[in-house]
Symmetry: C2
DNA sequence: GAGGCAATACTCGGATATGGGATGTCCGAGTACTTTGGG
DNA sequence: CCCAAAGTACTCGGACATCCCATATCCGAGTATTGCCTC
């Protein structure tokens, strides 16, 4: 799993802490955690294409959340950054070689793919069940000053 | 996720179909599904290191299951082939940059990592709950002749 | 004919290349602010 | 003093390099079989 997912999740929470009235540029978000600016911008563009954040060019421009954190699930972010394709992709090797004659009917999904799919479904369900607001609340419980620190730092630049 | 997982899972079921008395070489297993022999051998070696299969060199050598299919979970195979490390690895970016002063205590796990870890735990639980014997039964339900076809093909070579 | 021995063929196991995608970087198009000149 | 217009600085967005790991391959060490030679 790419590390862009971690960056995107943290950035979304940071955007929520920055507030809905203030747009934050990719450069600011990257500097906050010492990340490569242009590459984080790439991930943010993916979030923008998915409708999770909105973007604005020019001075006072940047990114801001397109909707409340409570309406954004972890699944939304992961799908936006990593792509919609499943992690386990069945290549239907059962149909190849001597084992897979044309006589057999492959209407049913491969048993291996079924089993792996069940596991991946459980993963996706758990991701979809958790909103970014849950993450934000937990983070604030651990570091209550984090939101203000970020806002102060943004205001001082 | 690497495609070696799919190959390993199918190969384990094939080994069960071949029977416990007969060792099957990596070349035979690969030819059965038109896979690159040497690379499949690599995955089988990983299974051997994990104690899922046993290996024997020389003529009449090859691989065979180290224990019944019912005692092998999907999780065992995935961990053996893909490695034990988690798919989502937290880089602790919250500690980097201006956002992460030394004043903050990082005893608690990052909220993002916690949330992603819950999802990955659900995935692992589902994988651990399914045994390879379940997969075999489902596969035989779809293609009852598959075991005999494989045994006949192995005997004819 | 029986037994031992050498030759052989086959296997795993690890060391060695290669290609594609994730990672990282750079520049152009566009926008809002600022400044400056004129009315 | 007010307004307009040009200049400027800042932003996103996509095109362009680079690096690492999954993929793929090859060769050596070891073993059971097989055939042969000797007794």
């Amino acid at each position: 799993m790419g590390e862009g997912v971690e960056w995107a999740l943290h950035s979304c929470v940071n955007l929520a802490w920055a507030g809905p009235d203030r747009a934050v540029s990719a450069a600011r978000l990257a500097a906050w955690h010492d990340l490569p600016t242009a590459y984080l911008n790439k991930q943010l563009q993916a979030l923008a294409r998915a409708g999770i954040v909105t973007s604005a060019p020019g001075p006072r421009g940047g990114f801001r959340l397109a909707r409340p954190l409570a309406d954004i699930s972890l699944m939304d972010v992961v799908a936006a950054v990593e792509g919609p394709e499943e992690a386990f992709r069945c290549a239907e090797i059962r149909q190849q070689g001597p084992g897979g004659g044309p006589a057999a009917s492959y209407a049913a999904e491969c048993a291996v793919a079924q089993a792996m799919g069940r596991a991946e479904l459980a993963w996706r369900r758990e991701l979809a069940a958790q909103s970014l607001d849950d993450v934000r609340q937990q983070a604030e419980r651990q570091a209550p000053d984090a939101p203000r620190q970020l806002r102060d730092w943004l205001a001082s630049r």
